[in-house]
Subunit: 218 residues, 4 copies
């Protein structure tokens, strides 16, 4: 049995290594689509400065996608850290999650080009929904098949699920705001993301002193 | 001797790390070739939506290749997990396998462009054959040179070989269907892939309760 | 508690793995922008040789950026090596640092195109400033929240901070020289970088014999 | 002191991880430059087949570069595996080696475009020379500063150096053959590479039974 644990342990490690590779490439390539202006059309310092200002909206879009990838990387990392072991179905659920990760650069380019189009915004939101569904399925499967670490406080699995559902509800609400204007939607999604990046431990720490809060802090 | 084991152990780890890098880059770059439509030719939401629908066949092709990479990543991971140690010939066999991995984005682009051409389909199938030959050679070499873990049930090596041969026979059969239509071939290959992604443990678990089934589940 | 340490330890490892992925992709892609001349415009060996000489300034720019990435990779590595554990805020500070890393290929392309423009040089310097701010924030946060290893000599945290501030002051001074000529600025920044790459342990080793010097040598 | 060993140990690990990232991206991107023919110029199966045959010379060039990267990846891996610990100077020597690695895709594209030009061939050879110099410097530095593992047989360091010098002499000889024809040079370099990939343990094993041969086998 010790052999099996060892094999399974390595399995999680390689899944983590593949994920870090995919997230790393995705995060780097996002910004690579930001191209400097062509030298032929720039005349003097002032021209270059205003050309750089004009690509700021694109930069904002790429920062949003970088933030999205970070949020889901942290989420996946936390889940994998709490796995006692893995099995092949969990691996395949995570590979489907990684497919959604590789789609994000496409969704970002689409939204950066067509930020005033509701179709592009909904496609972007659908990508975020896929990412959330991937995390939710991973966690649910791990819980049902007792792959989670035994020393985890009993309410952690439910808290993680509630957290994913809450975040996805806010994203869906943000996407819905595109009936007003797609820019309102984008602003709403960025605000939700910043909230989860900066202060997500806030409520958890207030209601749960001890081991549970630490489980959620990673 | 403890020193040698340590060195060999690290060797497998670095081979795994290089593989995860190559698979990760390959998986990410597949979808990067999916380009959003040009903004000049899109007029209104309806135009964008139908432009997105028109790239769906390309998306299917990229999903098929992502699936291919996943299947062979899981296959290689399982093999490396069962190695007691590595040596330089095994490393070189695996590097040849990784060359076939780096060829897949090319084969995918070729098939996505020329999906109605039998030449493109056969080139794609040849790439899958190379991947299978790489896994088969790795496993065969490891078996003949006693690099596999000692506590593995005696019939596992043969089961792994049969599994690779069975899968490759089905792929070859799928490729043969291109005498009817290349789209029939593509559909057949995708079905074989989904079968291996979703249910490959089925027969193994029925005939082998205990450690052997677990060995195959990873 | 042993569970928490284990989780936190893995957290640093995955942050390191993601960082190595992002730095590795960034370093490789820098040089990929160096394109060979077009075959149509080259006539004979002499033409090719002079075409290669004419892209030397670009090569220098890419070497400078490779050097920048190396310096900050070594800096981040040293910091992560001295962490006893991590928490989610430290992770997010490091993800912001990694965003600055992904921006560098853009800043490099901009400066390679517009090396005579002060705007491009200042944008490049701003990127270096962001990288320095990322390292400074990481270290400061780790110090204030007792995430550093307990057996570190008492003055190491302050020495690391002073080192970052000193380097950033020299970079700022170098950037300021662009009021004379942007090429003077570039030369100054390269000299500062080479100094930190080749001899940064000099002062540390003179004033600190024993464990402290070793802590800084990595 | 145990703390220092731990820090230095992790340092080698991160250097290995960064290297695997850079090698992995480099290997994947080499083949990515292989583009399928344009659909507009292809008429029928026969046209596609002959278009694929016409890019075979390019494929050979990319295989040669993949082989080069593999050879130097195996070489660096062996060196890092034999390090007891690392220090910052060794890290910087290895980062210079990695810069030569990132240059190889450029050298490859240059040679694939201009394979009949001696300038392109000599630039490619110069890149291989830089890679060899990087490995030689790493090993020499590690030997002089006692960073190698203590249980290594006494003659291994000299054998490794001789091996690098022998390989580089053969590469230089191959490059010299370009006075006859660059294609003769390319063939000679490929033959040297295949010799080192397939049979490099031959002479070592004959003269050195025991631990030494194993040291060289990785």
């Amino acid at each position: 049995m010790s052999n099996y644990d060892h094999v399974a342990g390595r399995s999680v490690e390689r899944l983590a290594a593949l994920s870090d590779g995919i997230f790393g490439v995705g995060m780097t390539l996002l910004v690579l689509d930001l191209r400097p202006p062509l030298i032929e059309v720039i005349h003097g310092e002032h021209g270059l400065a205003s050309a750089l200002v004009s690509i700021l909206p694109q930069l904002v879009m790429y920062m949003m996608s970088f933030l999205t990838l970070c949020i889901f990387w942290v989420g996946q990392q936390t889940q994998l850290n709490h796995l006692e072991r893995s099995d092949r179905h969990l691996t395949w659920i995570n590979l489907a999650f990684l497919f959604a990760v590789t789609l994000l650069p496409f969704s970002t380019k689409l939204l950066a080009e067509f930020y005033a189009f509701r179709t592009a915004l909904l496609e972007y939101w659908f990508n975020i929904l896929l990412l959330g569904a991937g995390l939710y399925s991973t966690w649910g499967y791990a819980f049902r098949h007792s792959l989670l670490k035994a020393d985890m406080p009993a309410d952690v699995p439910a808290v993680v699920c509630r957290r994913i559902v809450a975040a996805q509800s806010l994203y869906a609400l943000g996407a819905l705001l595109c009936v007003i204007d797609t820019r309102v939607s984008i602003a709403a999604i960025v605000i939700v993301q910043l909230y989860y990046a900066v202060s997500p431990g806030f409520r958890a720490r207030r209601q749960a002193p001890g081991g549970r809060a630490e489980a959620r802090r990673n």
